[in-house]
Symmetry: C2
Subunit: 331 residues, 2 copies
DNA sequence: TTTCAGTCTGTGCACGTTCACAGAACCTTC
DNA sequence: GAAGGTTCTGTGAACGTGCACAGACTGAAA
């Protein structure tokens, strides 16, 4: 039993293919009588358009590809992903478009993505967590519109993006520490080739100025273990620290462990601030004071940018959304 | 500047469309001379096949749709998702297939999925975390092959799946408690319409037999808050508990908070066991003894089942993979 | 009546591929 | 040299849709 085609619908409704096609594509110039007949025929036959045939003639695929630029080993649970995926699916579904996922972890992956996109298999590209100087961004330039969820360092001008104001978040936490009368404020950053790594530190430095010395700054790689290590480093280097701003909740959990091991009380001896307001922030002891990012809003803005470009806009401006301080027991 | 077609490649290589098509589809009967000429022409022109045109004639789309059956509000970070998504993308990419994502949170979503699948837009369906008695599984029966990542309760016979042996996990943790000489062992379960909710409890009951009384069992909904609430309930009901098996790490984090509030020491007074071995298990204090699920292996097995069915197999058997006890400080 | 604009409809063609088929070229064997 | 099997190649016909175009019908204005 074959799937019904537009011919079958037309025949059942007693009209021609063209009329059915017009109705399907929201064209005006379809008489009320034809309209009801066709709608009935569609539901009777269970017709659904063949996207392949349509895209063959329209040169559009009705799909957007989301590219995950994480190296394979790092399967860490980034809440950003699940939120963005869901928001994107939902917004695309409203326009009857679908989301296809691709990985860009190694060279082979990236080549595959470029081939896919260049081959015209997607109407747009949604980049996730792309690292600084990623060469394959250039390869994407000539194809369909591409946007990034989160800033692409060094390429802000070439690829539109939506992101949280990470720098503001850094300032918010640091100002909070200062306002509490903390005097020796340290920071554990993320990798310095990511926006979160760079910009959260910038916010920290904005507030502290020259008091943000190298001795007070340690680097992690987002993992809990790296947070623990960095905290130990800091304690060894500058024992009189009374506050530490950690660039992610997960690393902050590591920092808490190191502080506990060193016999420091939190928040009495050392205040700890995280970033992300992830579920980890609630499961630590004490729960983390942290910075909440407007994840869903960023995702929405990203998709909106992409759709605007797909609709033919020449240029869009980046969108930067404010973060928010969430106060809990750790600071 | 138009995209090159198979005609352009054929012309550049001095052969006909048919020969190029044969090479592309791995057919034998292509002479060595033609082969090199075509391969050169392909790389010179930058040709990449038009999937829409191909799928129009082959009736295959080269894509698999992953259906996320979570209600919208619950955007909780399930590590299962990110692992399965990555594994699926990777395995599909090897066969030059792509993964498209859809949501099935409400009735409208589900209808969209059914239309999409029935419309022949996917060669297979990969169900994630489908709840018991989900009616839309039946709607999927008549379409392309569908498999589930995780058991589908009450439908094990109708839809193939791969899953972790949740029941075994429940036994492992409970036996560990028994072996340690714990006498009053309680359990906090997940929702009783999910495999994780039901089967982890079954494992618990397997070991404890009639000692697993109703008084010792409380129910949560996977959230941290529900874990905390359930733990308080249990303590009020049965104050002499000396161990509790919590069906997820996140809920276990909540249980730890409740125990701390009640002045119980962990693990001295009460041993706590979690489930999942998620990142939360490491960030709690003390770190959680828990059950590790072979997430990646389950994902691989799921995709393999689906591909086997897509390749024409009539029937496949479900795959159930063993869990593993991970001992940390909480028990 | 004629003219014209507006509304609605049907038809042929193109999109880029695969597949079945026919046939050419080559080798082996009688 | 005829016959028969491989191996290889080109060609026409689909697949299901959107779009441009031509034309039919309406009603209003000249």
């Amino acid at each position: 039993m074959k799937r019904p085609t537009i011919h079958d619908v037309a025949a059942a409704a007693g009209v021609s293919r063209g009329t059915v096609s017009r109705l399907l594509n929201g064209d005006k110039y379809v008489s009320p009588a034809a309209r009801v007949a066709i709608e009935r025929a569609i539901s009777e036959t269970g017709y659904v358009v063949n996207r392949a045939a349509r895209s063959l003639v329209t040169q559009r695929t009705g799909s957007v590809v989301m590219v995950l630029s994480e190296p394979h080993e790092k399967l860490f649970e980034d809440p950003n992903y699940s939120t963005t995926i869901r928001v994107a699916i939902r917004m695309l579904a409203e326009r009857d478009m679908s989301l296809v996922m691709m990985l860009a972890g190694d060279e082979g992956d990236r080549e595959r993505v470029v081939r896919y996109v260049r081959g015209g298999h997607a109407d747009g590209v949604l980049l996730m967590s792309t690292h600084a100087g990623d060469p394959f961004i250039d390869a994407l330039q000539s194809g369909p519109p591409a946007v990034s969820c989160g800033a692409v360092i060094g390429r802000e001008s070439v690829i539109p993006y939506a992101a949280a104001d990470e720098r503001l978040g850094g300032r918010q936490m640091t100002e909070y520490f200062v306002g509490q009368g903390r005097r020796r404020i340290a920071m554990i950053t993320g990798p310095m080739d990511t926006p979160g790594g760079i910009q959260r530190l910038e916010g920290f430095a904005d507030v502290l100025g020259r008091k943000a010395t190298k001795k007070l700054i340690a680097h992690g790689d987002w993992t809990q273990a790296s947070g623990e290590r960095a905290m130990s480093e800091l304690l060894a280097r500058t024992p009189d620290i009374d506050a530490v701003f950690v660039a992610s909740d997960l690393m902050a959990a590591g920092a808490l462990a190191a502080l506990r091991a060193a016999g420091r009380r939190v928040p009495e001896d050392v205040a700890v601030g995280g970033f992300d307001d992830s579920s980890v922030a609630l499961s630590t002891h004490p729960p983390l004071t942290t910075i909440r990012q407007p994840l869903a809003e960023v995702a929405q803005a990203t998709v909106r940018l992409l759709l605007t470009l797909i609709d033919g806009a020449e240029h869009v401006d980046p969108v930067i959304l404010p973060t928010e301080l969430v106060i809990r027991a750790s600071a």
